[in-house]
Amino acid sequence: MIYEGKQKIWSDYQKEIPDDHWYFVRSCIRQNFFPASERMFTEITRNRLGKDIYENPYHTTCGGIAYHCDTIPQETVMTIVARQFALMTEAGYENYVASCITSFGNYAEILETWREFPELEARIRENLWKACKKEFNKPKNLAHTSDLIYHWREKIAELGKFRLVDKETGEPLRIVEHIGCHYAKMFPHKAVGGAEYPYVLAGMVESWGGQVVDYPERRHCCGYGFRQYHVKANRGYSVSNTHKKFESMEPFHPDAIITNCPGCPYFLDRWQYVIAEQTGKTYGRNGFGIPVFTYEEIAGLILGYDPWDLGLQLHQVAVEPFLDKIGIEYDPKAKYLGLNKEDIMRPELPTSLKCF
């Protein structure tokens, strides 16, 4: 194929990402499991990159998880989202960035459904007026927070103190990138690289000096499955899917995994612990697991933030071997300390999975 033709095809997979002025909404899962990651998103974008990222404290859940657990009707989730858009409209913004992949997929699904069925959008507007006396404009641009970090990845690399490089060998670290299913599988044109070539995390890895690892089950779901995790009886589904991914990536010896979905880093981290405790099998070297990071955690490490300010102590898989490979310094004794070095005890250690 001629070069121009290739460029034309690739341009179809690109996404327009405005450079500034974003209305920011949070993720239920991330606030619970990776609270420092969300904080780091605003810290990096506002304080290091000087961007306008506005948060309205009156925003709520988008209802996406409840919707995908089949517990709320479609009109309910749509009206909750309409209220979120109304708050954005009141604040005078047009660019909407969600910190959650389920939310991102939810917003994309709703906007597409309204586009196709305008009568439904009209009904939701009536619902919102009846319930909350609010009106809304639809966002001009919809992004996931990883889209923005991707958009600013070169600037982060420029400001960075570290790179994803083995300090002993000088070789790029081998990174598995795991994209949340609802980022690109439902509406590929809303994603950087589409569903075929999702580049949002691969682009970060490459810009920050690492090497992306390809493996057979690269696009397989982490196993969240909504009701397949939230109901205790179903969790075998969840761990089985994670197990399938780890068995597939193991021969490629990744140094770490980077994720952009709120649930995926939790499941890929915690199910490694469960697999190790149940079977004795670990996927990293010397009894460790493969550490799983959010993109803000990796960006934060590149920028030189203290690993414990990034919340890496909340991972069950030890991150220290990865930090050592890059040459990032940390105080092992400070890992589980509270604010102002207050002693708040420390977790017990797992039996099989090696941790600190």
């Binding site: 409840a66 009707p73 309910t76 439902m186 499955g225 009886a233 589980y336």
Partner: protein, 230 residues
Amino acid sequence: MDLYEELSKDYRFKEGLHTCINCGTCTAICPAAEFYRYDPRKIVNTVQSRDNAQIEALLRSETIWYCGECMSCLTRCPRKNGPGLVIMALRDLSVRLGYFTDSEKGRQMLPLTHAMTGNILNYGYCVHPKTFKWEDHQESGPVWKWHTEHLEKSMERLGANYMGEGPGVLRKIPQESLDDLKAIFDVTGGTERIALVEEYSRKKAQEMGMTIEEYERYAFEHCSDEHFND
């Protein structure tokens, strides 16, 4: 009731089914089909047969509850169908007609509804530390046990605004916003849906000789062997 006609009113169904050619690509890509005795191709084929008796059997079955709604099928279907979307419409109808209590996986609607809608209406989140208990999530590991035992201090260390005023991570959602959510539930059928799930579940609990609390716990914890692939 013509069940196919009823399904056709659902926007997810309108988006998700435009004549399936039975190629089986959805089943090949499906994470649930590998784990459970689940075949999205067969489900879509049953639905498009428009056979009322077969669709009713599906609505009362375990099968429709196996999907994880990852929507991998949507990407790969050569006809742009979305078996995952069809599943969402089937589940919705199963709940509205009360058929969900006929299956073990369907009965999970009660604990799920309580957990999700309780979190939304009480806290403004789908998941919240006050209800995500380590005892029910031991897979979250010793680190999570430690974190939840020292929740306020740990959240403070991580820079969260846990249950605080103003913006920030896990802030207290203002009462005005919670009131809006309640009004949205009332206007859009969310409140009615909770009552419906509770009513059908109560009837089923009686039939099974359980208190509603025993029924809910059993639905949350119990898993028969019949669901899995060999």
